[in-house]
Subunit: 328 residues, 2 copies
């Protein structure tokens, strides 16, 4: 057996815990440690043997780590950590602010190139696997249309928006793809779909004592950007029910490419995910791409990459001959 | 606009016609001509302006063609043409005899390397896009099981087998995935499924005059390898009905990876194709990979490749910055 790929985790929330669990499923990898901005003494990894270090001393660990997996958020953590850490280590992250990806890519690319490292950004399922399927769809069926549907799944951003409404004590929000729209797309109709036709939204809300349900419901349903353009259902439930039935983080979705070839043959490509745990799945994708980062660096490459730049074979622990024999 | 990628087609059956149609959908490509083992005067391309040449003079066209797409069969054509043409041109083919891929890869790799060319073998949907999804599935969810279901679709190999039964004048065979098995897999059960549980087979048969239906049906249903291990339905129809209702070549299928992460979260990845025309879709995949072959050669690479070795971005006519902006 070759030397194991040595992984470090930066940030220990849901994503970091998922990476810790995923590394244990990959026998060619080992976890060097968790790096946190919090007091390391206050962080308890799932595996008690996992070392926890302060993030600000991470530069001293350069010789011990092959790839760092960055598990911070796209809003506050990654814009700073991504470039800073790519200058020192090979990195993989799940940066998911779609509109700012070009700027983020440029900053990370400059840092990674200067440090002679590989940094794979925006890894996960969207951006990530869904992006790949959008690319395959339009490259293979140029005469066609691509549709992305999300859900059924818990949306953190929309749940946070509901929680900010006055009178709301706790809440979760589910995004639900519209079955009727999906069936039209699957039949190859290539319909023009409005925002309202593609998804519905469902909120489960615990009211603060004395809050008026009708007022809260109106405030949610009329919220611009988040709910005003959708058909939204609001259910009021008890705190006990919320904790019992809505603690999990399921998600998923669909990328469907509908196109035509030849005279008028309809061709439909569909990719879908049904995830019990959104963060654990994203973590599993990050870990597979960490293997690719390690290999690209071993080839002498440096700079930023996205999933579009990574040959799929680099994700597998199997060598190319074995892949051809077993999976082609 | 840059110079167009100049494509040649070798072999002009259903696949070759599909490639001709697909090239017309890609504005960065142009079709140089069709090369055939038949008398060129007897071949009529869909586009009357497409030149038709004798295959045995193809070496004289080396300076005019960037990538040759090989549209011959895996049994008789490609074992000889693949290595011979990869020595002279960049090539893409759909070699699909799974068990012999390692030997075929080695022969093509040697020829392509000697000629300084890129040869991408076994491109299409299975092998091809389905292989990629098998790889992504096990690389991302190592603790899991992968299931491939085919259909509903017309199988050429099984149709040919039915046609060889004494008393059969004409026939088609459809492979049908078992809905019940697929639902179990989608629920994350990871069942052990027998051949009989995964697919059923349905034959539409025109009898020769005087042939005995019961004898023919028994001969089909008891045929080893092809039908004996399956639940098979045999329908006898008229020649008119066969020609009216069964002339198309639909196909498709499903690759489902069911795995577990963390403590016991079920995660399901599903990829599916629903194709009105199997050969036209395979042709469209070949054409996208021809773009990748052209680009790899321009980078100075040489040798055989499979879909596992190709970074997805190379398939798109868009440049990397545009892909990140629009599709990531």
């Amino acid at each position: 057996m070759a030397e194991k790929i040595r992984i470090g985790i930066v940030g220990y929330g849901n994503l970091g815990r998922g990476v810790e669990a995923a590394i244990a499923q990959n026998t060619d990898m080992e976890l060097v440690g968790v790096f946190t901005r919090r007091d390391p003494a206050g962080v308890s990894p799932m595996n008690a043997a996992t070392p926890v270090h302060a993030l600000d001393g991470i530069a001293r660990h350069q010789g011990e780590i092959d790839v760092l997996i960055l598990c911070g958020g796209s809003k506050n953590d990654l814009p700073e950590q991504g470039p800073a850490l790519a200058a020192l280590f090979n990195t993989v992250d799940s940066y998911d602010t779609h509109a700012r990806i070009p700027d983020y890519f440029a900053a990370v690319d400059k840092a990674a190139a200067s440090g002679g490292n590989i940094a794979i950004i925006s890894v996960g399922w969207d951006p990530g696997l869904f992006s790949l399927n959008r690319l395959f769809g339009e490259a293979i069926l140029p005469d066609g249309a691509t549709y992305t549907f999300w859900g059924k799944g818990l949306s953190q951003g929309h749940s946070d928006a509901v929680r900010r409404v006055p009178g709301v004590k706790a809440a979760v929000q589910y995004t639900i793809p519209a079955q009727q729209a999906m069936e039209r797309v699957r039949r190859g109709e290539q319909p023009a779909l409005s925002t309202r036709e593609k998804h519905t939204r469902e909120c489960f809300v615990v009211l603060q004592e004395g809050a008026d349900a009708a007022t809260v419901e109106h405030a949610i349903k009329s919220m611009p950007d988040y709910f005003a353009d959708y058909d939204t259902a609001v259910h009021f439930i008890s705190e006990e029910t919320l904790q019992r039935d809505h603690y999990a983080m399921p998600h998923g979705g669909f990328v469907i490419r509908s196109g035509k070839t030849g005279k008028a043959s309809k061709q439909v490509m569909e990719y879908s995910l049904k995830l019990d745990s959104n963060p654990e799945f994203t973590s599993s994708v990050l870990v597979a791409y960490a293997r690719a980062a390690f290999r690209l660096r071993a080839q002498g490459q440096a700079g930023a990459r996205t999933v579009f730049d990574i040959a799929p074979g680099l994700l597998s622990s199997k060598d190319p001959a074995q892949l051809r024999r077993e999976l082609l």
